[in-house]
């Protein structure tokens, strides 16, 4: 063990003198997170406010709930209720009425609730909710669409809930009242939570986390491919000639990879928290997720390296694996929102588990990290043990 530390210390000393390690480990992920972060939130203290017009052609209990508990409940949203579609259109379409009531009475978007809305929601029929955006308020109009979509997503869950209760009680319940009971539970406070159909991180934290795990697959390479570098340097011959075991050499490499990985993520976390006000969540949960992510990255890089003859080859292959898994795992855009095959396929990537773990942690308690942590550890241990066997066998001068 002491030998492993000696080797790890030597490796870290080498890394500290190697500029590319800083760039890959700290500068690049930080720069990316900052770029994404600022692009997303140009002004951190900017308060969201929007004015939405609603035309309720249904006038049912359900439509009233939508207006009061969905639209009015969203922070910063002012709701103008209008009697006719024409009046509503006038507020969002300047072409129709360019000079009418110039001050304060335009809307960013118009919601049109169709006449059969309430009946449709109570039945299993398609619900159509129309949103007309104001051309000159595109981002707020976009949020209006997201609100409507979020509501549509909630409707599915209403039906699911009702169905489940029915099965459990083995009898018909009053669909209408159960549905309304679920619908009228208070909406989560933040806008992002409203728009999402799964739990999701806020934009800044999302990109900070995405970049952290994405670059992790590059930083841990410095530890593991250094074994191949030792061969290139000729120093592997000396390590093999020294009175130490092969396992302690591998352990030394693992320790340095682990420390480099942890430090680079930690620096990124601290910086994005201070500069971008990223909210990583419960520190213990985050620490467990990061730990497991580092292990999974080490395992995958070790596996890939064990098939390589040179450090360059290993770096290329590990980088390819990192990029593919990173995209698939949704570190650049949230593939969970894409739905379909890709949304399920993403779980072959530890990146997805890391992102999902952080997202769940932001909304739930510590227990939610258990599954992602176990899965990532399993990734790391399985790939890592195969990789180590290969690397050990390849340890020849």
């Amino acid at each position: 063990m002491e030998t492993a530390w000696t080797i790890a210390t030597k490796d870290l000393k080498e890394r500290l003198r190697d500029r590319s390690a800083y760039i890959v480990g700290i500068v690049a992920p930080l720069a990316m997170a900052l770029i994404f972060g600022f692009a997303l939130n140009p002004l951190k203290n900017y308060e969201f406010s929007a004015t939405y017009a609603v035309v309720d052609l249904d006038q049912s209990e359900v439509s009233r709930l939508f207006i009061d508990d969905v639209l009015r409940a969203a922070p910063g949203v002012e709701v103008l209720q209008l009697a006719t579609t024409e009046e509503g259109m006038a507020l969002v379409d300047k072409e129709v009425n360019p000079f009418a009531e110039p001050e304060g009475t335009s809307a960013d978007a118009l919601f049109i609730i169709p006449p059969e809305f309430g009946t449709d929601v109570q039945s299993e029929r398609e619900v159509e909710l129309q949103v007309v955006g104001n051309q000159s308020a595109q981002s707020n109009a976009g949020i209006a669409v997201a609100l409507a979509r979020g509501y549509a997503g909630e409707l599915t869950s209403v039906r699911v809930t009702v169905a489940t209760i029915e099965t459990l009680l083995q009898k018909e319940v009053d669909r209408f009242s159960t549905g309304l009971a679920v619908l009228s539970t208070p909406y989560p406070a933040t806008l992002t939570d409203v728009t999402a159909d799964t739990k999701q991180l806020d934009g800044t934290t999302f990109y900070a986390a995405g970049m952290a795990i994405f670059f992790l697959f590059f930083t841990v390479q410095f530890g593991i491919t250094s074994l191949l570098e030792e061969r290139h340097n000729g120093t592997l011959a000396r390590l093999l000639a020294a009175p130490i075991s092969k396992s302690s050499i591998l352990a030394g490499k693992a320790i340095s990879a682990f420390l480099i990985g942890i430090v680079s993520v930690a620096v990124l976390m601290v910086t994005t928290t201070l500069v971008l006000e990223a909210d990583w969540g419960n520190p213990l949960g985050v620490a467990l997720l990061v730990l497991a992510a580092v292990i999974s990255a080490m395992g995958i890089v070790a596996l890939v390296s064990s098939y390589s003859r040179t450090a360059e080859q290993a770096a290329t292959m590990a980088s390819m694996a990192g990029v593919i898994l990173g995209f698939l795992g949704g570190t650049f855009f949230d593939v969970a929102q894409a739905g379909g095959l890709i949304a399920s396929l993403r779980f072959v990537s530890p990146h997805a588990w890391f992102m999902q773990g952080l997202a769940d942690l932001s909304a739930g308690d510590l227990g939610v990290v258990f599954l992602p942590v176990v899965v990532m550890l399993a990734f790391g241990l399985v790939t890592g043990s195969v990789g180590l066997v290969g690397l050990r066998r390849g340890m020849r001068p």
């Binding site: 030597k10 080498e14 011959a237 000639a241 001068p397």
Partner: protein
């Protein structure tokens, strides 16, 4: 390093075999090295020197044979045997991002040196390899010769019982080369057993007490330089630049037991002798007794180049 040398040999190996796929790189090599002895493995490129050394140092698995270092069996997992060995690989084996002192300290620690013992020994080695004033510069800023010296220094750190040097002078300028050869000579004199591979005949002649000539993975012949030369019937040539009664002198010298042939030439007398070094006093006294006045002596010792050519049918350097 305390070692139990019941039979006085630091290294004993026999019948070492190694194949790479179908290719037989080492085919039954065996020899021994006593304490304080310098043994040379002389052979051309691809002869199997590095492979043999890698097996002796425990870097490579062997396909057959035995290796004992100071009485301990060597194999890739044998840490006890490895403690006795200092290895200087053929290719530079240093960390370019670290300075000389850091390189030495790192490897010293791997061999169990700690604290003041480590500090002291690192300074000592820095003196031996004459890098003390550059000890804190990154080693990728060193000249080729300096890197070579550091490469050797690392092998010396832990006072090995057996120092293995694999062609340490390849690609080195004449000045550094001489410094390296002098250090190796000194280490041999101080009692370190040395295994030295080279394809430079002059180095083997200068440094080695005994030499094994290796080619195609087998040792073709082994012994002192003289043994080898005699083995193939090589003789020394002694030229006496002389005046006086050359005919009588030549006849008398031809009768001496160590002299195979004597002939009068334009400058004096030419002799073919078994061992110029041993016979020279006798030659000079016989010459003066028979009325030959010797103005100069020119000795041409038989060399390993010729031995090698004879044994293998090819020259050492192709």
């Amino acid at each position: 390093m305390g070692s139990d040398l019941s039979n006085g040999n630091v290294l004993e190996c026999s019948d070492i075999r190694k194949t790479f796929g179908d290719f037989v790189a080492v085919d039954g090599v065996g020899f021994h090295i006593g304490a304080g002895e310098t043994y040379g493995l002389l052979g051309p490129n691809g002869a199997g020197k590095t492979t043999t050394i890698s097996i002796i140092a425990g870097l490579l698995e062997r396909d057959g044979g035995t290796v004992l270092i100071a009485g301990e069996a060597m194999d890739p997992e044998a840490t006890a045997a490895k403690r006795h060995v200092g290895l200087v690989p053929q290719d530079l084996a240093i960390y370019p991002d670290l300075d000389a002192r850091e390189n030495l300290r790192f490897f010293g620690r791997l061999y169990g040196l700690r604290g003041s013992e480590l500090d002291h020994r690192v300074d000592e080695v820095l003196d031996i390899i004459e890098l003390r004033d550059r000890a804190n510069d990154r080693s990728d800023e060193y000249s080729g010769g300096m890197k070579r010296r550091l490469n050797i220094g690392i092998g010396l750190l832990h006072h090995p019982t057996l120092l293995i040097l694999d062609e340490p002078t390849v690609g080195v300028d004449p000045q550094s080369r001489n410094a390296i050869l002098e250090s190796v000579e000194r280490l041999g004199e101080e009692g370190m057993a040395v295994l030295y591979t080279t394809h430079y005949m002059e180095e083997a002649e200068r440094l080695c007490d005994r030499i094994g000539i290796i080619d195609h993975g087998t040792i073709k012949a082994e012994g002192t330089q003289r043994d080898l030369v005699q083995l193939v019937g090589q003789r020394d040539r002694v030229r006496l630049v002389a005046t006086g009664n050359l005919a009588a002198g030549s006849a008398a010298l031809g009768e001496l037991p160590g002299i195979d042939d004597a002939a009068v030439t334009a400058q004096g007398i030419d002799l073919i002798v078994e061992n110029a070094h041993d016979e020279l006093p006798e030659i000079l006294s016989v010459a003066s007794r028979t009325g030959v006045s010797v103005g100069g002596v020119d000795v041409d010792t038989a060399n390993l180049e010729a031995v090698f050519l004879h044994l293998t049918g090819r020259a050492l350097r192709e």
